[in-house]
Symmetry: C2
Subunit: 685 residues, 2 copies
């Protein structure tokens, strides 16, 4: 090959790791408590890299930074550090809804401006924020003489773990989008992973890689290079660059959450803190967390259809019955799918027949809206695009006006098509195929949320872009799917295994709320097929898997069979003033306690996996000097997800107070749910 000038010989010849070893540290920073430290280096070739340590132990070894462009030399080599700025911030802000009412944002910041020593003299800035529980960084590419427009072929960001470990991850770029079970493998056996990817390092430290504030950019996946080293793998689009923007922008934040244990990861607020503040102002009048029921479970089981015909689910009569059921149960909303024109043909991957303001003839939209209003219930709308995103774009305003006119406060959207099969149509009619997390779709999802906000409608995105904390900026983006939800339990093949939710809470849920649709108390899917859960676990999911809009997914007929357990579904809030992840191991179990916003009661949910397990929790979170009645929903004698005894449940009450120790026993496939009713407080309905 003949690749070198004599001067450059030793550097060129080195392996990546060896190059990193020869780098000179050009900047250092530390978290507010000093435990987490950052070093930024430049090697002899002018390649920048960063590394992260905690308590002096390396977590992330020197990892490269930079960009490949489709139309210009990459920005990566031959850089010098031109400027360094530091900042320090400690603030607290309030959420309109969420797991915590107030959130502290305590971080130090270092802003580094790198400039090319070559003729182009391009500048690439990197801003690092160090929290006591993690590190985040983003690039800024200023507008400059030799970089007015940026066409990114690939981001060169690396994450080189400094220790081996165990990873929980889902494959990226596969046909079924985010809907995969989590793999648990050695860190060096990951393929290409979606984020959130959660890692337990050999030393015990837990790390979660993700991103925050994904706006006008494509989603980042993690491709393993070799060993424990990963590189960013941006989601493609239909265009040549994965990202195309005018210079003068910042990328999303790349986030490295760090904790002693899995529960610690759940308590991390970096993702929200790295997003811009609320741009929608006071939303209290129109964004209302709450539970809902709906015609969906009978559809997904195959009993009813979305399309018109003898099995059509969204008929006036059916929906009236659900409105009645919701009203009688104190559940404020009813989701209606399949209410509109466009479902009759093969809509999977082709939603160009969908009309989002034209109900089917057997759905009396005006009458039902009025009836719902009369019963104190709202309807939740549904916009299934079949992946025809441009077609949906053309109806956005009319669709959300129609929704608002019919009293819908929330709309569930859907993009049911395989990965990479989103249809984009240019103004001139040219057709393209986009990925759900490519730049164009990232912008589409946000356009939907912004349009909905104009009409005071909130969005629950299915087949969504991943959650990167944009609910802070747009609090009407209330929830999303983005993983394997309850629907997989409707189907005869491929049911979710018992460990699934204990994976979700420490992976996807670190990004934000998930519309999992729990509460199938019948524990049965299509043709009576058994769901791999106990009854108590179905209740626990309402506490463990947070979503401000959460479904009671089963049918009214089934809930009538389980009045005792259904009481917890009726009781459990969807908005919280405080949350404590009490314990957990990724994929094994998780226990979470939350305090009702605007109330004094606490709720606890614990979910396990296929093993029987008992965990002890100390009730430290309760108010001192106050008595509580614990309403306990626990797995009954012999409960087991593998047998009909999965329905065995014991509901009992127990007086407790702060500091008491409770033993939470979980059956195989089980869980436990507890309401701690604060002393003297009347039962809420």
């Amino acid at each position: 090959m003949t690749r070198l000038t004599a001067l450059a010989l030793p550097i060129f010849a080195l392996s990546l790791a060896a190059v990193a070893a020869r780098a000179d540290v050009v900047a250092k920073a530390a978290s507010p408590d000093g435990r987490i430290t950052l070093t930024v280096s430049l090697d002899g070739e002018g390649r920048p890299s960063y590394a992260v340590q905690r308590d002096g132990q390396p977590l992330i070894a020197d990892s490269r930074l930079g960009f490949m462009l489709t139309d210009a030399p990459k920005i990566e080599r031959n850089l010098m550090l031109a400027d360094t700025k530091r900042d320090r911030s400690d603030t607290t802000w309030t959420q309109p809804w969420g797991e915590w009412a107030t959130i502290r944002d305590n971080h130090s910041e270092i802003h580094l401006a790198f400039r090319e020593k070559s003729d182009l003299e391009r500048t690439m800035d990197v801003t690092f924020r160090l929290f006591d529980d993690g590190v985040a960084f983003r690039y800024t590419l200023p507008d400059q003489p030799n970089l007015h427009h940026v066409n990114i072929a690939e981001e060169l960001t690396q994450f080189a773990f400094a220790q081996p470990g165990t990873a929980w991850w889902k494959p990226a770029f596969e046909w079924n989008r985010e809907e995969y079970l989590y793999n648990k493998t050695p860190l060096d056996a990951v393929g290409t992973a979606q984020t959130v990817m959660t890692v337990k390092l050999a030393g015990g430290t837990h790390v979660a890689l993700h991103e925050a504030a994904l706006v006008d950019y494509s989603g980042m996946n993690l491709a393993r290079v070799q060993g424990n080293t990963f590189r960013a793998a941006l989601t493609p689009g239909a265009g040549a660059p994965k990202v195309s923007r005018n210079a003068g922008f910042s990328t999303p934040w790349r986030t490295i959450a760090i904790a002693d244990d899995a529960a610690g990861l759940y308590m991390n607020h970096m993702i929200l803190n790295l997003n811009e503040p609320n741009r929608l102002g006071d939303v209290s009048s129109w964004i209302k967390p709450g539970k809902f029921v709906g015609v969906w479970w009978n559809m997904i089981k195959g009993n009813w259809s979305w399309a018109r015909g003898p099995k059509h689910g969204a008929t006036t009569a059916n929906v009236r019955r659900y409105i009645d059921f919701a009203a009688a149960s104190g559940i404020p909303a009813v989701l209606v799918e399949g209410w509109n024109v466009g479902w009759d043909g093969n809509w999977f991957g082709n939603g160009n027949a969908m009309n989002f303001s034209q109900p089917t003839e057997d759905f009396d939209a005006d009458g039902l809206a009025a009836y719902a209003r009369s019963r104190g219930v709202t309807l939740i709308g549904h916009h299934e695009t079949g992946g025809s995103a441009s077609h949906y774009d053309g109806q956005l305003d009319s669709a959300f006006k129609w929704a608002a006119d019919h009293g819908e406060r929330v709309v569930k959207t859907g993009y049911v098509t395989d990965a990479g099969q989103i249809e984009r149509v240019d103004a001139d009619g040219t057709r393209h195929r986009e990925w759900h997390e490519g730049q164009w779709m990232v912008n589409h999802y946000l356009r939907v949320v912004q349009t909905a906000a104009k009409y005071h409608v909130s969005i629950d995105s299915h087949e969504p872009v991943k959650d990167t904390g944009l609910r802070r900026t747009y609090p009407n983006w209330v929830s999303r799917e983005g993983g394997r939800g309850m629907e997989y339990n409707a189907w005869i093949g491929g049911k979710n295994p018992p460990e699934h939710e204990a994976n979700l809470v420490f992976t996807q849920l670190l990004g934000g709320p998930m519309d999992f649709t729990p509460g199938v108390l019948s524990l049965s899917g299509s043709e009576g097929s058994a769901i791999q859960s106990t009854l108590a676990k179905q209740l626990a999911l309402y506490v463990v898997l947070y979503s401000p809009v959460v479904m009671a997914a089963d049918t009214p007929e089934n809930y009538a069979k389980y009045p005792g357990p259904f009481q917890f579904v009726k009781d459990v809030p969807t908005d919280w003033s405080d949350t404590r992840a009490l314990n957990g191991e990724v994929g094994d179990y998780a226990t979470v306690a939350r305090k009702e916003k605007g109330g004094d009661d606490w709720y606890l949910g614990a979910v396990g996996d296929e093993e029987a397990r008992a965990v002890q929790v100390t009730l430290d979170f309760l108010d001192a000097g106050r008595s509580y009645i614990a309403e306990i929903y626990r797995d009954g004698p012999g409960a087991d997800y593998r047998t009909d005894a999965r329905h065995a449940i014991v509901i009992e009450k127990k007086a407790v107070r702060k500091g008491d120790i409770l033993t939470i026993a979980m059956a195989p496939g089980g869980g436990q749910a507890i309401r701690f009713v604060a002393g003297g407080k009347a039962r809420r309905r």
Copy 2:
């Protein structure tokens, strides 16, 4: 969510593996000897897949087929089998040069035409060829009403290994192109790999994945999805599609070589058999395999420079001296790098100053051409593009005319820039950054070879596209780099480890010849740094690592110090009538015997790794009833790559005949070279 019609429920809900399990077999085929079998299936969603078995044991489990397109729905679902054709062929053909003079092509073929059941009714054909030692397949996309132009976003081909195993692989898409050491990891710890990827399955069977006849398409890499399942990951280009072509073409062949052991993989001829026959006619007058010396080793060590100045290597005086040395040594060619104008600035990644028909003022091109001719030596030219491929395109004709006019029969090309940094300039001046193995560069490399052929010049590509057997069709494409060659041993850091060549022979070399540049008998790089090899191993490399053009890389001064070992370098041929891989384990050791074309002598090379090792070989390959003198070059007492004793060598002679058993002892970092001189034959010079 909400992704299904009731009918489709069970299929949609299944994991990939489960889907495959439900597929119906629609076609079967077997290799000529019946041991290898193929099954092709369609699942309930109309997704085709293939699987491969040997002796009834699954090697490749059901693996998907299809394409994603940038501008139309993917071709993958909803397919039916419209037509099946079968064929059987057993032929033998002759190579103008190579490891074997004649090659047998014995295969059965099954051609399957899939057609979409949907409105588009597109057709995708898949042709499988089954050999006794492997399976290959390629797609054909006919020109058709709904597919006139094909813009491929990704090929959906999978390779789902049915057994765990150990893999030897290099990471794909990393900055240093192909120049990485091989990883040896569990199969399920591969990241994204280049091909050739070699796998030893748990059952002992060896499999190598690669491709054949890469023409007007982008190179295939292997991304691991999860577990032991891989998918094709085509190399990107600067354009949106990874491949853009008019319909009516076939893809390269995806090849699955299968053998009982590593040596068996080396004996596989699928790659050559799957390429089109020689298009250049009788090339015997102008394509001449042979050894060469050159000014390069002093450059790569930093003693001399490519650029003009006091250290300039390609001076008239220096090159005259090398011509003299070549002539005196019976070596027919001298490579001259840095002979032309354009090296003075920073040419790395920017070769736009390179002029390929303008020598520097201290290089008397005409005089040296005449002098070389007078000494019976030819000069090997050198075209370093610095990755500026369009710039080179603009000079191709003039450059090769100049080369031919100066008696150059071979030109070494170079594309020294990081991965993804090839410069392409459109006719309108628009600049793009291309990958070395993207479609545009695949076409560029072949354009260079085709242009060179017009002038009867052969090409030795450095920083090349991988070898997919095109030497059969264009026999002037004689060699290439494409891996870590001897140059890494010139540099102080990052020297090749002792196992490197035992990796190469069972990975990269399965694709074709490599210009490794062996024969550094001084065993020293820059500043006297020690090369991790014994002296005998340097000789063995001439036999083990095949290339029809092969360098004696060390300096004349150094060769003068080792007249005994240098005799083997002078003796060893570069063209063979027969080759036998005698034994080996990937990355541990390899023993290869070859018979000189046009002669009766055999040569044997054995290379090891860092361990001392003795292997026994039976001299079955020698002619019966004939006596041979084995001229043995073996590691001497105490030889060890870690000490100065790496130079210890014993040269001895021994009478042998067919069927004798030889014990080949190799020191740590060692090897052995043997010439078997056929009885009565005069010593050749």
